[in-house]
């Protein structure tokens, strides 16, 4: 089974997303031009939320936490979801019995851009 070392856990509009820590350049204040992760759930993120920086761009969430667990198992994406959100889903991680969708930030950015057009 695939695994991931360190994840960033993000909450937006009550929904959960996890990102592999190695995809994140920085955690920053959500100032200036940001992409709203809430759009992926048909909602809007908290304007006072925090942002992940990736590829020079910022994606805003309501809250962000870092979990340093090494070798966290990644459950595969079900066949029905492989192309959801521009293929941004790369798996699922389970932490304390709670499931978190693991996303590729670059593809999530592509999805958010397409949704905002």
């Amino acid at each position: 089974m695939a695994s991931v070392d360190g994840v960033v856990l993000c909450v937006v509009s009550g929904a959960r997303l996890a990102v592999s820590a190695d995809q994140v350049d920085a955690i920053a204040t959500a100032e200036g031009p940001v992409w709203d992760a809430g759009v992926a759930f048909g909602a809007t993120s908290d304007p006072a939320g925090r942002a992940l920086q990736c590829l020079g761009r910022l994606i805003r969430f309501d809250s962000i936490d870092v979990v340093a667990t090494v070798g966290l198992p990644v459950l595969p994406v079900p066949a029905a979801l492989v192309n959801t959100a521009h293929g941004a889903l790369t798996g699922f991680v389970e932490l304390s019995g709670t499931l978190w969708p693991l996303v590729a930030l670059d593809r999530l950015l592509g999805f958010l851009e397409a949704r905002s057009r």
Partner: protein, 141 residues
Amino acid sequence: MAEGPRGHLVFACGGSLYAVPAERASEVVNLPVLTRVPGAAPHLLGVFAHRGEVLPVIDLARLIGKPVDEIFKRVVLVRVGKGAMAFTATKVIGVAPIEGAPPRLGESGALAFMHGPARVPAGECAAIEPEGLLEYLSRGR
């Protein structure tokens, strides 16, 4: 040689009856708390982990554009070669034979993978072709 009747698991969802081949229906479980999926279509209610596997929950009524005003309490787990999925159910009727091959209910979309009307003791139902429906769902949107 004509095909004999195939056993199907019949269940209700959104005021309609559906059926899946009995050999593809692996389990019926209570609807658990779901995890939302980014960018999901309205018919994808969320996912849950079951026996070490993540399963998507598909609302069949929303999938074919029917109004939904029911609360689902159970899901029917369906497994095909490419993977598994769970269909919402308000009531599981039981296993019934379906004779022959009813026509497709539509030429495109999800209805192209549903056949009917198929007669079962509880009434008329739409017989789902799970392999084709999963392939259709995996194309995304």
